[in-house]
Each structure stands twice: as structure tokens, then as C-alpha cells.
């Protein structure tokens, strides 16, 4: 444990070790989850938030084990409900730093409703969705992000389900912070997490995570050091959206539509400048440039928006109630209506 009771020795002393529990991680060798865990444990100290003020809440799935490996407070909930548990935690005590770790099945299949409601409420939780486009823990069924036609244990003839685009779904659900990153790019991942932490309110971060056992290579086009170079559209706020070593761009096409084009063929004024703080429709259009990581795909922060956090709104309502009605007094409450006295 980081420090003994009361002896909070300050930011500078925190290290990765303070966030590392005594439980040995038990994912499959080579799983992308290891890289994310290492990145998170490595990055937490620089936030200067003590482990005891940090809570990790997870659902069920391979990703769900994450909680056990962080030496913070942790709640490994039931399948799909982590955002609801986290809403309880973050609203009960808005001073805590609350993280949700979830998978594509946990968050988007059984837990879809809690996710979208947490996002619209802007609960101050940072949601890390490990998207491996598969159900890992239950050994290989397709997930709501798996591509159509996918052959898995539950779909020997190929899946007929059209997948979600998680970033688009989050935007449709009024999310105030939406981003995407990849498990094996520690710098990018850490950078996105830092921005998520700084954002007051819900942050939805999709992390492309390789499941080397049941869905190996699903993100190679984006995640691979070589191919990624050509296919990652890295979003940087305030900068024109160009990629593929500066050769391609995202520009406004006919009737206001976004499209990918060669920089050489594009009027510079038609090239989109990334702006995370405007209306979410730009972000939505960027999310829809590709449907899944099989074409050039945006990574980075898509959208950020200022809105009061749920926990603060609830807290300030409690404060205003006290101002308006005075601090709660039991006797006043019970005797408040028509009473009568006998004898």
C-alpha cells in the first residue's frame, strides 16, 4: 500500500509501485491488456492523486480483472453494470477519482444502456473500453463491434449483425469527451488518458486491444507499427487533419460531407481543421470516415465539451436545499404536518 493511515506523503513520492497490487495478472501471454495495465500503472503517479482517492470499477470480461491489479480501491462488479456502480460511487463522493474498465461486450452489449446514460449525465468517470471485437472471457463469441460475417463459436455460419461504431454511439449519447487510442502505443494512450483525466465529467476512451487468442490481428491495419503509419488518422486539436505521412487529408466535400482525399488534389481551405470543442457533428463525421479498423481510422480525441458534472450538480443541489430549507432537522421533519397532542 502506498502509505500508512494519515501519512500522506505527497505527490512526488508516488510511483508505479504504489498503484500495483500484490495480485499477479492472469491474462493470456501476449494479451493487449498487459500493455494497457502497464501504461495505466505507469501514468497514475504523475496525476498526483493518491491510490486511496482512486477507485477502479470494472464489469465482467478479461478486462474486468484489471481492477484487481491496481492497488487502489476497486469494485469488480457484475456484467455490464460498472457504469451504474461508478455513478453511485462518483455521485456519493465527487472527490474520488473514478475509473471504469470495461470491454466491448461488457460496455456495448449487456451494459449499453448504463453506458449511454452515464455519458448523457456526464458522471465524472473515466471509461476505458478495451475493444478487442470479441468476447474473450467466455472464449470467443462475436461482440457488438465484430465485423459482419464474423465466424465465431456462436456464429459458425458467420454473424449477420451490423456492428456499432463505439465513438459514434458515444457521441449520439451526448458524451462530453470521446477518444480512441491503441493498446500498444504507450505514448498516445497515455496522452489520451491524460486529457481524459483533465476533462471534468465522463470520458469515453475506446482502446483498440488485441486479443491474441480469439481475435488476433483485428487491428493490425491501425495498430501495426508499419501499416499504422498509413492508416492512422491522428487527430490533433486545432490542426488540419492530414495523415499517411502528410499525403492524405480529410476535407469537406459535396453538400458538407467529409471525405478522405489526397492532399495534392485538395484545396487547402477544404481541409478540415480538427476542433474538439465545437458541435459534436464534426466528431461524428470523423467517426464515420471508417466503420471499424479496416480502413484509415481516426485516433485521438474526437470531441470535448463543457457541461456540469453529475456529481457536482447533485452536490450543489444538496447545498442549495440547505440554504433554502435550513439543515435537515428530524424533529422539524416529523412534526411538520398537522399534529395534535393528547393528555
Amino acid at each position: 500500500m502506498a502509505e500508512e493511515n494519515g501519512d500522506v506523503s505527497g505527490i512526488a513520492t508516488l510511483t508505479k509501485k504504489d498503484f500495483t497490487s500484490d495480485q499477479e495478472p492472469r491474462w493470456c501471454p501476449g494479451c493487449g491488456d498487459y500493455a494497457i495495465l502497464a501504461a495505466v500503472q505507469g501514468f497514475m503517479p504523475e496525476l498526483g492523486i493518491e491510490p486511496h482517492n482512486t477507485v477502479f470499477i470494472s464489469g465482467i470480461g478479461c478486462s474486468g480483472r484489471f481492477t484487481y491489479y491496481m492497488d487502489t480501491y476497486g469494485f469488480h462488479g457484475i456484467h455490464g453494470r460498472a457504469p451504474a456502480i461508478a455513478t453511485g460511487v462518483a455521485t456519493a463522493n465527487p472527490d474520488l477519482h473514478v475509473w471504469v474498465v470495461t470491454g466491448d461486450g461488457d460496455a456495448l452489449s449487456i451494459g449499453g444502456n448504463h453506458l449511454i446514460h452515464a455519458l448523457r449525465r456526464n458522471v465524472n468517470i473515466k471509461i476505458l473500453m478495451f475493444n478487442n471485437q470479441i468476447y474473450g472471457l467466455t472464449k470467443g463469441q462475436y461482440s457488438p463491434t465484430s465485423e459482419e460475417g464474423k465466424v465465431t463459436k456462436s456464429t459458425p455460419f458467420g454473424s449477420v449483425d451490423h456492428p456499432f461504431n463505439p465513438v459514434a454511439l458515444a457521441l449520439g449519447a451526448e458524451a462530453t469527451f470521446v477518444a480512441r487510442t491503441v493498446d500498444n502505443d504507450r505514448k498516445h494512450l497515455t496522452d489520451v488518458l491524460r486529457q481524459a483525466t483533465e476533462h471534468p465529467g465522463s470520458a469515453f476512451v475506446e482502446i483498440y486491444q488485441n486479443c491474441n487468442v480469439f481475435n488476433d490481428g483485428a487491428f493490425d491495419l491501425i495498430r501495426d507499427k508499419q501499416q499504422g503509419l498509413h492508416n492512422q488518422i491522428r487527430l490533433v486539436n486545432g490542426e488540419p487533419i492530414v495523415f499517411d505521412e502528410g499525403t492524405r487529408c480529410v476535407r469537406v466535400g459535396e453538400n458538407g460531407r467529409l471525405e478522405i482525399a489526397a492532399v495534392a488534389d485538395s484545396d487547402p481551405s477544404s481541409i478540415i481543421t480538427h476542433d474538439i470543442h465545437g458541435r459534436p457533428s464534426l466528431a461524428f463525421a470523423l467517426a464515420h470516415l471508417s466503420h471499424g479498423p479496416t480502413e484509415p481510422t481516426c485516433i485521438g480525441v474526437f470531441h470535448e465539451e463543457d457541461r456540469p458534472t453529475y456529481g457536482e450538480a447533485v452536490r450543489s443541489q444538496l447545498e442549495r436545499a440547505v440554504e433554502r430549507l435550513g439543515p435537515g432537522d428530524l424533529k422539524t421533519l416529523l412534526h411538520g404536518g398537522d399534529t395534535w397532542t393528547v393528555g
Partner: protein
Amino acid sequence: MASRPTGSMTKTVEERDHVVIRFAGDSGDGMQLTGDRFTNATAILGNDLATLPDFPAEIRAPAGTVHGVSAFQIQFANNDVTTPGDHADVLVAMNPAALRADLDKVARGGTIIVNEDSFTQRNLEKAGYASDPTTDGTLDGYQIYPVPMTSITVRAVESLGVGKKEAERSKNMFALGLVSWMYGRPVDVTLRWLEKKFGGKPEIYEANVASFNAGYNFGETTELFAHQIHVAAAPVTAGTYRNVAGSQALAWGLIAASVRSGVPLFYASYPITPASDLLHELSKHKNFGVVTIQAEDEIAAANMALGAAFTGHLGVTGTSGPGIDLKAETIGLAVITELPMILVDVMRAGPSTGMPTKNEQGDLLHAMFGRHGESPIPIVAPSSPADCFSVAMEAARVAIRYRSPVILLSDSFLQNSSEPWLLPDVDALPTIDPLFAKANGSDFLPYARDERLARPWAIPGTPGLEHRIGGLEREDRTGDISYEAENHERMTHIRREKVDGIAADIAPLEVDDPTGDAELLVLGWGSTAGTIRAAVQRVRGSGERVATAHLRWLNPMPTNTGEVVTKYRRVLIPELNSGQLTMLIRAAFLADAKTFSKVQGLPIWADELEDAIVRMLHG
């Protein structure tokens, strides 16, 4: 005071021990308000009483139809009142639909006062009457009093400059005035309330006063009513009283538990009839630091409450049948994570959507067993509207002391009906020490236990107590994940023993057996308490020896329960279900208990139960 009825007491007064009055009218006729006001005046007079609002199904039916009838029933007496009454002595029917809907709730030979003006051809048709029941013989055998309430009211307020619609709308005050006269209710209480309510709108205020007085004077002056009826005050414990509905008492009990434990209250819920009123009531009291969240569904509500419990709040979630189904998985998580949490289930008639506005005690076995795996949970049930207050405190006490979810089984009747409540001395209410864990330098063991088998409540924000919990089986003491066979069996036993052990911490089952040699025990639970008391009083009145006992805790049952139920040759368990407690008692004690079952969405009537007791004694 602006004015008061002018009539002087010129009629004779008849004494009665108890009276049941039912006000019935269209949803828009203000019957709940009328009933509420009558209740107040009655309470202040010192009668004991019990009330029951009877709402229509959720959707408002077209005015004037049977489906749109809203009623309010009150029983008051010069002695212990235990139910709102089986049948009404007096029905006030504001329109034909009300008469049609509620006629079968009037005692044979009872009094029926109808608003004559509303018995038009159109309204009769809407109510489904082919001819006028007040004249066609339908009401033979009742005492029927047609009163032109609307027209008198309109005339009474004519001069005040209120519109016709407003004038007509105050006819419920006329009815209230009339019935107030009939039973000699104090006038001041109502006038004072009108002033408080409409003081800011003088015209409306005047109109209501005028209507009320007109009703009162109508009783006093017309020849229609031969005499007033007097019901003496009931002998009650000295103290300050108020009338309280179960939903209020339950909400306040939770707030009181929060205040007396210093653990902030966190209520997450999804609206559902008849549990929504808890959410409504609690959200008014944010100045107690009460967080209320309307969640996206019941699953979320339960998980939010559980998350809050983890964070050091008293996590509470309330719902009704369909919602408690949905919370099952989360309750299991609360059982294995051993966090203090209260699940309020306000039972209503099932299965499925069932009859959402009707009452039933159908969820007891679901509360006991409604989760996969071995997943024991304490269950407690209030026996009357006011009892909800102390049961809520009791549930909180056990939840916090034992770090356990607790199911509180209320029902639709308890929630909606009201009774006078002797207000407790706030400073004498029990305190609850949350005993939050503190770091002490040594390794923290989140699943180590105290003498009650309770584990530490170590809340986020406390340095040195970082730990992880979850739904996978935990290793004893350390709380790490464990798949070890013996550990699982040990933990299964510990979870059960912890719940069973609560028996040592609750009151023993009290038996009321005045002669000490009763043959038959009537054992009850929940909202049937009043009916049981009434029925047992009656059979005892005819010389029978009957014992009675009421279970407040259904799990665990008090330690002497087995002794009690096996002591009597016969055990009768009245239940608003097919015999759920009966099954638990039979299994636990091999006692041949029988059920008196009623599954009609209605309360058990005292006379039905009386018959059943007599039959069992002599049959």
C-alpha cells in the same frame, strides 16, 4: 376566522363505537383531498382511525366513467382501529359512476349520499346505468339521501364572483361540510387549513369556505338528516400525534437512520407504482444530505445504491414487483460483497405487470430465494403505515451492523394508507455506529470478521485501506479471489450464519394469548396485522380462545418462532398470497400450518378472517 357555519345544534345525537365512511367521485372531484381533510379533523378529535385511498388504474379514464372513479375510505372509532374497515357505513357518491363502482363496498343497510345534480341521463349512461339507480329500486335496502350538491354549491358562491367552473369544483367542500356535520367534526381545523392553502387567493378561499359552510348548514337545517352521530375519542397514550402514510413513514425512517448513524442516505430508484412515492418523498428532503437519483432502470438503481454503499453511504433502492425481479442479480452481488444496503419492495398484485394499483403479499418467497445460488438475505416487513418508520430504522441498523443487504417488504396498502402516529422522541431514537474501518498499520483484511461475522466497512478515501471486492468468490479473511473448494463451502456457511445470527439481535416473537390456553395460533406478517387484530378481537369477543403473533423479521425469524408455532395445535396464517409464509414455517418447523389465502388485490376483511378462524376452531 372568516366565518363559520351558522346552524345551531337542534338535532339529536346518536352514539357509535366506530364508523366507516367512503368518499367516491371522479378523479377530478378531489376525493383524496376531501378524505384527507376529514381524516385530519377526525384525528384531532382523538378518534383512532385508519384510512385507505383507492386510486383508479394509472391512466385517467374519461370523466364520468367507472374506470375514472377515485375513492377514499376511513374508519374511525372510540377504540383501537386496525383497518380502514371492511364495508362502509356511509358512501358519498359524487356521480353515478362512483355509485356503480363502490356500491358493493357499502354495508347492507348503509347510508348512501349522492350528488343528485350529477345523475343526468348522460352521466348515467357513462356509468353504464340503464335507468336511475336512486329511483329504480337498485338501492332498496340502503338509506339513500339525494342532495343537489352542485347547485347548492353554485348558489352559495354566486355572490363571490368566482366562475361557474371554479364554483362547481368546490362541491367537494360541500360534501366535506355535510359529512363533517353528520359526525360532529371540528370546523376550525378545516377552515384553518383552507386559509393556509388558499390564503393567497381570496376568491377561491371564500368559495371553498362558503361551500363547506353550505354543506355543514345543509346537514344542520334541512329535514333530510334526523340526527348527528357521535364517536367518542379513543383512549390513547399521551403525546403528540400526526397522521402518517406508510410511504412518508418509511422515507422518514430512512432519513432518521441516516441522521442517527451519521451515514448519508443515498436513494436510487426507478419510478414504479406504488413505490414511486418513496422517491418523491425522499427527494424533498435534500437538506438532510439525501441524494436521490432517478436511474435509467431498476438494475442501474440497485447498482448505484450498491456503489454508494461501497463509498460509505446508506445505499437504498426501492421498487415494486417487476423491478425487484430486475434487481436480483445485483442483490446477489450485494450479498457476496457484504455491503450495507436496503432494498425496499413495495409489493403489488402480480404476476408480471399484474394489477399495478392493487395489493398483494406475493413477493416473500422471491425475497427469500429470488437469486441464483445460495444467497441468504435478511428480510423485514412493517405491519402498519406508522410501523414503516421503525422498520426502516431497524433495517438500516441491521444493514449497517452486519454489512449486509436487507430486503424491506412493504406493500401497496401500507404505502398508501395512513394512521395516527404517536411521534417518537427524536433524541431517544436509537443511534447506529457505522464503525468504519480505520487503518492500523497492519495488513488490511477486508474479509476478516467481528463477533457478528460482519466484515470491515472500509470506504474509498481512507488511506491505507485500499482493497478490491467483487462478485467472484472471496477468500476468507483476505478477500482475494478464490476457487478453492473448502473456502467456498466455508464462505457459503459464513454468509448463512451471519444472517441467521441476526436472530440474536432482534426481538423474540411476542405471542398474545390472554387465556394462555389457546388452541389456535393466528400467525401474521406485514400489512395484514390490522385485520388479524380485528378478527381475533371479534372471535375472542364470542368467547373463543385464540392466540396471535406477528412476524416482523421473516429472515431470520426470531429464535423462539419454532417453539411458538409448535406449541399450538393449530396454526392459521392469513396471507395475501397462496401461502408463502406458511411454506417457510412448515419447512422450518414441520408444523402443519394452514393458510388463509386471499389473492384478489384487496385486503382481507376482518369478517372473512373471523369466519375462517371459527371454522378452523370448530371444523
